[in-house]
Symmetry: C5
Subunit: 356 residues, 5 copies
Amino acid sequence: MAKRKNRKSHLQKIGLPPGSLIHIGEQKTEKASIHLINFDENAVHEKKLRDIEEAFTYLAQPSVTWINIDGLHEVSIIDKLGQHLNIHPLVLEDILNTGHRPKIEDHGDYIHFVLKMLDYDEKSNELITDQLSLILGKNYVITFQEQAGDAFDPIRERLRSGNTRIKRRKADYLTYALIDAVVDSYFIILEHLGEAIETLEEDLLNKPTPETLHEIHGMKRKMILLRKSIWPLREVINALEREESALIQKSTEVFLKDVYDHTIQVIDTVETYRDMVTGMLDIYLSNISNRMNEVMKILTIITTIFIPLSFIAGIYGMNFRYMPELEWRWAYFSVWLVMLGVAGIMIYFFKKKRWF
Amino acid sequence: MAKRKNRKSHLQKIGLPPGSLIHIGEQKTEKASIHLINFDENAVHEKKLRDIEEAFTYLAQPSVTWINIDGLHEVSIIDKLGQHLNIHPLVLEDILNTGHRPKIEDHGDYIHFVLKMLDYDEKSNELITDQLSLILGKNYVITFQEQAGDAFDPIRERLRSGNTRIKRRKADYLTYALIDAVVDSYFIILEHLGEAIETLEEDLLNKPTPETLHEIHGMKRKMILLRKSIWPLREVINALEREESALIQKSTEVFLKDVYDHTIQVIDTVETYRDMVTGMLDIYLSNISNRMNEVMKILTIITTIFIPLSFIAGIYGMNFRYMPELEWRWAYFSVWLVMLGVAGIMIYFFKKKRWF
Amino acid sequence: MAKRKNRKSHLQKIGLPPGSLIHIGEQKTEKASIHLINFDENAVHEKKLRDIEEAFTYLAQPSVTWINIDGLHEVSIIDKLGQHLNIHPLVLEDILNTGHRPKIEDHGDYIHFVLKMLDYDEKSNELITDQLSLILGKNYVITFQEQAGDAFDPIRERLRSGNTRIKRRKADYLTYALIDAVVDSYFIILEHLGEAIETLEEDLLNKPTPETLHEIHGMKRKMILLRKSIWPLREVINALEREESALIQKSTEVFLKDVYDHTIQVIDTVETYRDMVTGMLDIYLSNISNRMNEVMKILTIITTIFIPLSFIAGIYGMNFRYMPELEWRWAYFSVWLVMLGVAGIMIYFFKKKRWF
Amino acid sequence: MAKRKNRKSHLQKIGLPPGSLIHIGEQKTEKASIHLINFDENAVHEKKLRDIEEAFTYLAQPSVTWINIDGLHEVSIIDKLGQHLNIHPLVLEDILNTGHRPKIEDHGDYIHFVLKMLDYDEKSNELITDQLSLILGKNYVITFQEQAGDAFDPIRERLRSGNTRIKRRKADYLTYALIDAVVDSYFIILEHLGEAIETLEEDLLNKPTPETLHEIHGMKRKMILLRKSIWPLREVINALEREESALIQKSTEVFLKDVYDHTIQVIDTVETYRDMVTGMLDIYLSNISNRMNEVMKILTIITTIFIPLSFIAGIYGMNFRYMPELEWRWAYFSVWLVMLGVAGIMIYFFKKKRWF
Amino acid sequence: MAKRKNRKSHLQKIGLPPGSLIHIGEQKTEKASIHLINFDENAVHEKKLRDIEEAFTYLAQPSVTWINIDGLHEVSIIDKLGQHLNIHPLVLEDILNTGHRPKIEDHGDYIHFVLKMLDYDEKSNELITDQLSLILGKNYVITFQEQAGDAFDPIRERLRSGNTRIKRRKADYLTYALIDAVVDSYFIILEHLGEAIETLEEDLLNKPTPETLHEIHGMKRKMILLRKSIWPLREVINALEREESALIQKSTEVFLKDVYDHTIQVIDTVETYRDMVTGMLDIYLSNISNRMNEVMKILTIITTIFIPLSFIAGIYGMNFRYMPELEWRWAYFSVWLVMLGVAGIMIYFFKKKRWF
């Protein structure tokens, strides 16, 4: 659904000059909220802003400023901030367009990241995606989310608490920490999906129904979405590692390598799940074939045994005047014998064919 | 259909020396029309030309001239223009051959692009392709289309209106704007296809018919066409970004990167749709298997219950003179009991097999 | 068939030292024929040679000499020519071995090409391949074909006629023209195949028979053969473009780029056809499934409606002495009512299952 | 199962700063055990340590020290050792996280390897994976395993015994020997799987049951796990060969090439097995189709022969008063003739269709 | 089988230091035999050796020495030869391990090749593989085979006979000739397989049985084995061409290019065969579907025509006292009319559905 609205908005934009700021995507929150944390080794200032201009004094300081904006529809916020920090209009346009795949763009003075945050809605049994745009500048990090609710609370907690490493280091380390939190949150999704797959597998073995098939296909589709959101991240982090930007300190690289490993781990798990789901589909279809085969056998056994017998009974149900057998003393008894014989031969034949 | 005509025309050309100008492809418009816009930061001249020679004075000026030609069958127009601008005959030949895949060729003095414009005909439910050839020179852009009707009206509007960025910049920016408009128009196609896929999915779940299967296959074929038209564009724009041509200004590169991102987004969506359509095909086929299984079960249940019963009835329908049971007082009643017993055992057996 | 003979001849060669000249492949023509055209800007000499030695005087002139040899089984011709022009024995061996894939080899003084000419035999509905070996030297082009009949007549015509570009240029341009003619001839094959595919599609929709399936498989096999013959050509022409050989003039490169584009176009069409044929196979198989499903439904409906009714009729066909119903006044009428009731319930059930 | 616990532990870690040491994975052993071997060309010291501090004096010596730790849940051991040897906290974190894929990381002073040891549990018929982390320093090798039991006993034996090559060489050769032992142990797994596949194949040919299908799918899943564990190893060893680290002596490279070859051999075998298992699945499904076809034929033969005959018998079982045939002298005999004729025609028809 | 023994032997080796010489693989010949040919342009010495030491004097001469050893189980021969020529123990180990894939290793003083010789056993209808290890030194070539019987007799013949090129050239040319002979022998295998495929295809069209399916699967498996043996050879020869070893003379390169082309030709044919076999599988399965469909139709036609008729007959077979129709004069005749009508409608319906 979100997808279609997204496309529709994109249509509105057609023909406008590039860099026109229009929010493309569903409006997921009512009012955009701005949250600022300014910190260095010694002090932390945290503030909920009404107006984005309040942030400008913090940005002028050498300490690190992290501004998080939830909700993209109030375009003026993003516009003002972009002009203040001298962000290229196309980057701002990208932030507002939530249909991007994960990417990284180095603009010299700042680096622009696009990531996908994922959430698993247990009610609708659907994956929810939320685009995170992140701008890393010399002494600031700005994060744009479509809606409130993210995986960054532990990082905020670490910033608020005592003399932690995150406070001693610069904006690049904060960026790493945020990306790391996003990647870590993928493990939660995988956890949920892993459980769902196990449940599905048990259903498949014990009581497969057309419903099971439907769920397998649903799972497959979730895998496609997951892959699409996570695969490009691999290249993003890889590019970041190789990046020779003044914005990334040498000492942060080892941490990026670590996130990279986690991303690979996530991708590996997604691939394994995909293989498992594909395997389940095969098992389901083989099961149906097997069952149909079994059904056919039963039908054939019953039919081929009784149809000839019924025929024999039919013969002696005919009303011809001249049917010598009808008058014989042991005819009825003999017919029974014949019938049992026919049935016996049939059963022997099926046994030989290993149908039982 | 267009395809076959295309091939046929190609055959006519076999044996001619290279660079012979023959229009290869369907004649999609009756009369070729030439439209010229000449602009710089201060002025805009717009004109519908009767004769291509009228354009030559504009081309001599330092301001940017955009000539758009709808209809390729009037070869003389293209020939004259080519000779005036010193375009290589093979390029002119390419412009006339509408079977090309998207490509870019740098000829030093000018760059030659081939793109595919797509349109969705809702009546016939078909995709219509229209080849756009674009020649970017020092101070001119020439676009060749197979027929009237394109996605460039908003750009014309921006050129006509006040002091917009597009007027302040050069021919390379205009080229970017045109390519961007083409890529944007793909989103409209995707929009239509997305809706069609959703309708198909609902049909698939609620009331799948052989017709549904047919439509799924039609959709798959559209995906193949889309991919073929759009995939190469990725390389084209990529090549353009890396191009070290004097015709492309440094400041235009960031815009090219933006179109590139949009192209990737389009390709991603096409791939997702393809996966969805493939999934739908699987679901359809599984559904048929499921249904056949169900049909088989019903057939088997009814048959295996009633065939033995009919056999019993047949037995006592025989006309033998000596059948002791026929005379018994409770025989008829007992036969009913036996029959109910047999039916009961069958039903129990099917229950145990979970056929209900 | 040709294939197997080819392999057999190859076996004869095993154990011989490399460079032994033995024709590997079917003998497709009775007598080898040698045809020579010598031309420069001013004059054209054309001659059918009895003896290859006659060509040597022409080869000594600075004008371009094109020798075409149809039929490979007269090994002595190739041997003498090879020795005169100092061609490596392995190249001669390659010319005689018709099982090669398209390739290009630069030997310094000359470049050796292998191409596949294709022809469509409408009678047998088969593709016929003919290996074309081409040797491009400083002032000569030698072409070897397995049999008479090729796509080069228009080129010969152009050479014979007035002051055409092909006569003003050198051997490398002639080579380009020949390759271009081969690639152009692929379009004819594609034309035929395209028509055959359309006919197949109509058959598939209107009246699919097992024969249709057979033809689809035959088409698939043709696609495999086409791909095998054409794919490597792409690399060949690409290599030729990048080739820094003194034999290729700078001005010929733009023409090579053009052939390259045509080759890509051919490959693209082959891929599209392959996708279409694969799709047709899927449609055919789905159709069979659909039909079987329909057949099963009819069988099940008829059987499940009438088998219980027949059972009821069977009951009252029994000959027990004590069957109270038989004596009732309205029994027969009531049985009809019961039967209609049972049938009605069944029909309602099938309607609910949407089997009609 | 182990997998899911792994994921769960990973969740506990979310939000903690990177480098926090928490064991991620199942606790597979009750008490961690530390085993140390210190050796040079002349002497070997072997010791079971209670406390990791005991190892520090050995590590200070120029001779090679190999510390093996079974069990990862006693985090303090790893923490202390890491601090003593100045290992980066993220490496320690990696050692504790058992969900990694095989990898190699060069940290300058030491190289960190992750490998997967595999074991085949014949009881449960499952593959058991055990993550091996290995740290190669200037004069030490440290191996971390999830549980006791490994493939390294022969290496220990070689170290204990006389003047073997392994004792004359340095830590890099020991590392090679350990990796080699792991790769060699894969052959045992392949041996087991090869036997299981052969058994499966015999079952498949002699007596295929749905159970067989289940086992084939189980085998396929094992192949997926194997591939996932072994494929990355190829890149790891390849990277190690190219590594220009001071820790790897030139003379060890030829041995690495050897392990590389063995790894390729293992991967090749896995791929062959995979192809075989896939083929078995196809055979199984074709078998089911074949059988169903055969069952259908029998059903059809019996039914189509006897149903018309029963109909004839039914006709003459009707009780109409005026049925002239009933009174005829040879009617009964003629009916039999007609029936035999009908049956004969049917049988002839089936013979012609080659159903027998 | 050979495969499993191979693996078993590998297990015996686990834990031994690298370079321990143990023959891994089946013992295919009873006694190893050593055959030596020493030649230069002028003379040829040929000898069957009892003891490998006899060869050492020949190896000391500047003329080329070719030692061929059939049978790998007499490890001492290989050991002595290896020590004399200073071959690395791991290379000797590789020679004894017959599970390798084709490869090439440059050790400076000598190059080590592993190839697969293939043979087709017509009795068992199986492919037999024989590993060929080849060591090319400055003035010697040593070949190791698992058993007697190879494709090298023509080369021996050429060496024995007069002043052939092979005698004028060095060890590298001999190596080329040997590899060429191996590649040529693949054509024989392909010849056999091509014939088998044609036979299969005819069976498939004329009289497909489950046996045919079995053979198709067997063929597919052979293709997998062939590919596995031949594919890596491509890289081997390619590496050899690029090799800048003093052991390979410039003039041999053109011959290597020739073998390379042959290898490509072999691989191409294998791929084509694979496609054909896959296509045959599809045809077989479609055939079964087609047949089942046909069987179902016949069953359905017969059943749906006769079951209603039998029901009607059953009605009038009931013994109710009050059944007015039974008494009617033309009842029996009318019932026949009704029955013919019902049957006619059914047949019309099936005709309309195009079931005949």
